[in-house]
């Protein structure tokens, strides 16, 4: 189970990095969101992936409980990455409007003299 998980996370990482290295702004942002998914998978695999019970005190004995912390971390990370994604999409849209292109290589006006 863990090995499948590791390979999946690795493949998602690779896809994300590949997309981020493309020149298109849209692909860049899709790649970025894939990266954050891959991280979430990685954090999920921190607890062992057996089918343990929900961590409710008194209802489940301590040995059978799943570790709730990785799940809490993922939940927070999902919310944050959602906000980031929304913001970067809006920013990319405005930037592509201003620059009349979605090719990142062309966005050099800030590196030259103004």
């Amino acid at each position: 189970m863990l090995i499948i998980f590791a390979i999946t996370a690795g493949v998602v990482f690779a896809c994300g990095v590949y997309l981020m290295l493309r020149r298109s702004m849209v692909r860049l942002i899709i790649g970025l969101s894939l990266l954050t998914y891959a991280v979430n998978l990685l954090i999920f695999s921190v607890d062992d992936l057996s089918t343990r019970a929900a961590p409710i005190i008194d209802a489940v004995s301590e040995e059978q409980m799943a570790d709730p912390l990785p799940q809490a971390l993922i939940l927070t990370a999902i919310v944050i990455s959602f906000g980031m994604l929304a913001f970067s999409l809006a920013l990319a849209y405005r930037a592509s409007q201003a620059a009349q292109t979605d090719n990142i290589d062309v966005l050099q006006s800030t590196d030259r003299d103004m």
């Binding site: 981020m20 860049l28 990685l42 980031m84 990319a92 405005r94 620059a99 966005l107 003299d113 103004m114």
Partner: protein
């Protein structure tokens, strides 16, 4: 008493919320009151922790290491206070330097959120909360950077956003793996557990330290991860550039101290050659980039990178003396850098350009500003008796003590080049006669007040820190000690306020 330490979080939040009001004059006044209240609270914390005593508060009453701990030790208190000073001056400066339109689109609430993120990063005793603090800070900085939506801002903003989100992703990976290895994210608990790690699992923890170095390196803009900084920092209005240039990269350096030096001291020994090499390269590339620039904001942006190199140098020495030098340097560089950005903003308001070729004659027009510039620039370059000299003296002495002569040579040459680029600004903007056909804009009384007061306050602080270096060095040493010897920190968080051993 313990709950008192949440004030630096509550006040920025209130400041952000109240500054949402639609009445313009109210908005400014509320922001100013918020910044002042935050400054007073931080000074109070500094006085409380000055004797080396550590304030801890467990959020929600859950004992450490299970809850979220807020910890204010001498280093945190120093960083909080200096941040509060910069933010307070920034609010005054924004009166003139931020246009009405940006102000209307919630400039002040964003400042409040930014302050909240920075303060949380300085106070948290927990790795995941540090991640959240970074995100709060980044999100507000993204919006501040692109507020106004000019083309340069959008392009620079895109690069800034993407590279910083990648940095956060690396940080999150490191946090997840740390939890897998150590089973805790509380910094005090981590420091204790990782100190007991045997050599057999040292490889894994060294990889973790490397990942944290990468993540904080992107935030702190060290070589070769700094490319987002010169691409974006010169695009927003100068008040925002000054605030970012003074504070944001320094939060990355602070996190290096808090996480790498405190939690991973044994792993850093393995990474030391890498750290030293990075410090030298950061200093050199930063200053060479600055020397090549003819645009004030870009020149100063490259200097941010070069100064980060000095901070990294103090960190890489891995001695208490080195870290104390770095802490002192941090205080000095935040003040000097922000002051220089403020002064270049005054030059812009007076002459309508940041281009050194188009500026000129500032010495005759504004002799007071010329004096402010000289003091701040000399401090940055490291002339006695200004604090830049003491900071560099401490750093170089610490490096000589452990025989790192290469880094000393680089630090001295970079100082010289810093002086060279400061002289270039002086010659072009202040000394040479004004360019023909350029009418000087008249600054109104009101503008003068809001532009000159912040710059003067910072320069006066620089001079005071330089003249009374002894108590500041003592404070810095104490802050460095609280990082290098975390026993007291661990005890305060875990034993006195946690479940104990």
């Amino acid at each position: 008493m313990q709950q008192f330490i949440v004030l630096p979080l509550i006040i920025p939040l209130l400041m952000a919320l109240t500054a949402l009001v639609r009445l313009r004059s109210f908005r400014r006044r509320l922001a100013l009151i918020g910044a002042l209240a935050n400054l007073l609270a931080c000074i109070a914390l500094l006085i409380i922790t000055e004797t080396g005593n550590i304030q801890v508060s467990q959020m929600g009453g859950h004992p450490a290491p299970y809850g979220i701990s807020l910890v204010v030790d001498p280093l945190s208190a120093m960083m909080l206070t200096i941040t509060a000073i910069i933010l307070f001056t920034s609010v005054i400066y924004s009166r003139t330097a931020i246009d009405a339109n940006r102000e209307r689109f919630n400039y002040y609430p964003l400042l409040g959120c930014l302050l909240l993120g920075i303060n949380l990063a300085f106070m948290t005793g927990d790795l995941f909360t540090l991640y959240v603090a970074f995100e709060i800070m980044l999100m507000s900085s993204f919006v501040l950077l692109t507020l106004g939506g000019e083309r340069g801002q959008l392009e620079g903003g895109l690069k800034y956003v993407i590279l910083n989100v990648v940095g956060s992703t690396v940080f999150l990976i490191a946090v997840g793996l740390t939890y897998a290895v150590a089973g805790t994210l509380n910094l005090a608990d981590l420091a204790q557990r990782l100190a007991g790690v045997g050599p057999e699992s040292r490889d894994m923890t060294t990889v973790l330290a490397g990942l944290f170095l990468l993540a904080f390196g992107i935030k702190a803009a060290i070589f070769p991860l700094f490319f987002w900084l010169p691409a974006s920092y010169h695009t927003p209005p100068i008040a925002i550039t000054a605030l970012f240039g003074g504070l944001l990269t320094k939060v990355g350096v602070y996190s290096m101290w808090r996480v790498l030096v405190m939690v991973f001291p044994n792993e850093l020994v393995v990474l030391q050659p890498l750290l030293l090499a990075l410090a030298m390269l950061t200093m050199i590339t930063g200053v060479l980039g600055a020397v090549a620039q003819m645009e004030l904001r870009r020149l100063l942006s490259f200097h941010i990178i070069s100064q980060i190199g000095y901070l990294l140098m103090g960190t890489a020495l891995l001695t208490e003396a080195g870290l104390a030098g770095a802490v002192f340097f941090m205080i000095h560089v935040i003040l000097a850098k922000t002051a220089l950005f403020y002064i270049s903003g005054i030059a812009y308001e007076a002459q309508g350009s940041y281009d050194l070729k188009k500026l000129g004659g500032m010495r005759k027009m504004h002799p007071g500003v010329a004096l402010l510039f000289l003091l701040a620039a000399f401090s940055l370059a490291g002339l006695p008796p200004l604090p830049g000299f003491w900071a560099k003296l401490l750093l170089i002495r610490a490096a000589l003590e452990i025989g790192q002569y290469g880094v000393v040579a680089v630090a001295l040459v970079v100082s010289l080049l810093t002086m060279y680029s400061m002289v270039k600004i002086w010659n072009e903007a202040f000394w040479k006669p004004p360019a023909a056909g350029r009418a000087a804009a008249m600054l109104t009384r009101d503008d003068r007040r809001s532009l000159f007061i912040p710059a003067s306050v910072l320069v006066i602080l620089i001079v005071v820190v330089g003249l009374f270096a002894e108590p500041m060095i003592r404070l810095s040493s104490q802050a460095a000690r609280s990082i290098m010897e975390p026993a007291l920190y661990v005890e305060s968080v875990l034993v006195e306020n946690g479940v104990g051993e």
